[in-house]
Point group: D2
Chain length 112, copies 4
């Protein structure tokens, strides 16, 4: 296996893990920031993660608010960019909601 | 249903939810604190939660550290105390590892 | 603590656990049945569960289908009835989507 | 992006998703088989999955049994092989516990 190949595989792991670990978590406009940070810190611990940024869409949180003033984390709220480095190879991958496909698309944005 | 009865039921919900949402999360000595806070904030959003304290056992995290320097959140690391209030009724419930039973025991500590 | 009180607390645990363990699971019309059974079997293992029935709403699964022909398990799809018995005390509790509250309501249906 | 590259990324997603969705699920010797099947069916729904086999290690389940006669799904119990096909490219990837690293290793076994 080449480093580039491993990096692609590892980038996929990170996004799949993040999504399925945290979907369902109660979240509000007030708690969104600390949840973003906790998710970033958590996924950063995994092997080969160079950096990660997690952004929870406040507008979507507001739209999905229930009677008790909060929402549950769902795929349409989560925006992630993760950099994974294996040897000299770097992969930048993203998770972003695709409204047309109704799907939290995970994509390789860059591969070097 | 009396308030006390609802409070007992609601306290159970909170502990079951917390446990099964967050077990499996990557955690290290460095990230334990922000994860504690994110869990507290998240579960606080649920109805009837008066307060909650979450403590992740650092010693257990260290023991379970893998080759990459982190662990996964497991039942033996999590200590929780949650206060749930419904009307005038208050329940204090806890989650704490029972070494003998090998079990993350959830218990009602107080009921008023 | 009286048995009735413990039973109420335990019933809450089961519903909170079920919900947060399985929300996010990929599901389709074809896989709904085996997922229902696996969830039932899994939660039945927990202490004091007398019986449990889990029903995933096919109509909601169909509505939420993405371009790839499946959905993710969300709170509006899950209907549960669980019986929890502690000593002589029996609690029947349910989880059912409340469209008005936009909330997966957990309720004590019966307490004996 | 070439098909091979996408296939590697997609294979990673499947393993990360599977792991973090199901870790923590109550499981026993009796329920292991239906849980295996439900996990297989669930992950098969995701795009590009050609086939998947999930095996839960019975010996580990027995070892980890608590006082109530069941265990929780942990990384050391799960063995997975998944085939992901994108265009003409095929990736076979696995998840298997590495006792030395104390780690649920995810690996690309084959790339064509």
């Amino acid at each position: 296996m080449k480093d580039r190949e491993i990096a692609l595989f590892e980038a996929g792991i990170k996004l799949g893990a993040l999504y399925h670990q945290f979907v369902g978590t109660p979240v509000s406009l007030e708690s969104a920031e600390i949840l973003e940070k906790a998710i970033e810190r958590s996924i950063s611990l995994q092997p080969f993660v160079e950096s990660i940024s997690v952004r929870l869409n406040r507008e979507k949180i507001r739209e999905r608010e229930n009677l008790f003033g909060y929402a549950e984390l769902t795929g349409d709220m989560i925006e992630v960019e993760v950099k994974v480095k294996v040897g000299e190879a770097l992969v930048i991958a993203s998770l972003r909601w695709d409204e047309e496909k109704k799907y939290p698309m995970m994509k390789v944005e860059e591969l070097r």
